[in-house]
Symmetry: C2
Subunit: 232 residues, 2 copies
């Protein structure tokens, strides 16, 4: 393989793929901007639906023919506790979250861990962008889903890495509603049928947890049927 081709083939954008629809649509956008030059990163942190999310990650990666994939276990987050997603003694709440509150599914500072991992990997492979499907409006309770959080993180990267401000986090769906994300996904041919949203179950989505309710509302508002298969 010639060196020119190697340079062209080098993955230049990392996409964080949780397995849900926000990250799936984010991947579709990244693939438009860095066609054939995206790398996928997923992490398992002891959440209840870990296996199902990992399966969604692999299927979305297959869909986009992503060669460079990394799955990282970060079980120390489980050890720290403090969230109903990782602490078996806590109950996953059903029904919508009260507006402006921070739900108990919040893992303390979770996105900072994920992003630190992405930044370290970006330095090693030479990526210049990290795509993350954070959504500000539909995640009002999560402080690490707001635009100012990503501004602060990009400042941290600029002063705290070798690569400096040549590496940036981008959040292409942050100002979209869930319904707009669904529409964008359909427009770009994103494989929404491969995504998993339920916080609680791994076989059939519970339909009752906060994430299921938001997904249902998104497709309903977008006036598009949810293509998710009912059972694996």
């Amino acid at each position: 393989m010639g060196s020119e081709q190697s340079a062209t083939d080098r993955p230049l954008a990392i996409v964080l793929i949780s397995g849900g629809m926000d990250s799936c649509v984010t991947a579709a956008i990244a693939n438009q901007e860095y066609p054939g030059r995206i790398a996928f990163l997923h992490f398992c942190y002891g959440q209840r639906t870990e296996k199902r999310e990992l399966q969604a990650f692999e299927k979305i990666a297959d869909f986009y023919s992503v060669k460079l994939r990394k799955v990282v276990r970060t079980d120390y987050l489980k050890e720290i506790g403090g969230s109903s997603l990782t602490d078996e003694r806590m109950v996953v709440p059903t029904g919508p979250s009260p507006p402006e509150s921070i739900p108990s599914t919040y893992v303390p500072f979770r996105n900072t861990h994920i992003l630190a991992l992405a930044v370290s990997w970006a330095e090693v492979i030479g990526a210049e962008r990290i795509y993350i499907g954070a959504v500000a409006e539909d995640s009002a309770g999560y402080p690490d889903c707001q635009p100012e959080y990503y501004d602060a993180y990009n400042r941290l990267i600029a002063v705290g890495t070798k690569i400096g401000d040549n590496l940036r986090i981008v959040t292409p769906v942050i100002h979209m509603t869930k319904a707009e994300i669904v529409k964008k996904g359909m427009e770009l041919g994103a494989p929404l049928h491969l995504t998993w949203s339920c916080y609680k179950n791994e076989d059939v989505a519970c339909g009752k947890c906060d994430s299921c309710l938001r997904r249902r509302h998104a497709f309903h508002t977008a006036n598009i049927p949810d293509p998710r298969p009912p059972k694996i």
Copy 2:
């Protein structure tokens, strides 16, 4: 136990303890400011001298009668590679680092991972300060040891956590030289004899790696004999 006593006993400051002398002196300072209310955090990331550093951590914790200690494995850093401290195929350089360069012992974005862990733990246990023994001058090559990095991190905590700006990272030795750190440690009775600095060996310090050379220079300049036992 009465609730008043519980509140008083609650650990309110986390100290990051690597096992080296900078973190040891930082612990001494934290113990002055939060007497009897410090928690220790250490992490193992597959570095060559992992066992020896862990031993130093436990001994320093015993010295300060720290009850709340946490040791976390973050092996994903080893998986990512890119540093001679974690990648066996790379050679640990001997001799001093060239000024202003970034040494190959640099783990990409390492302090961000450590601090994210500390912040998550702080949220769970309700700590309001995180002490870290970063030194700007003697670590000129490490971008994540500079004051602006910590300013950026505190901004990230302020916007990215539940606790907000009630939690802050403090860096009491950041503007000190290594010799000043030695003197401060002696003044506060810090157990420098329990610390480990060598990047390379676990039994007898090699005396040649960058960290050994800086330690020797520090004690020499402070005109104080190094109390480290020669062998364990």
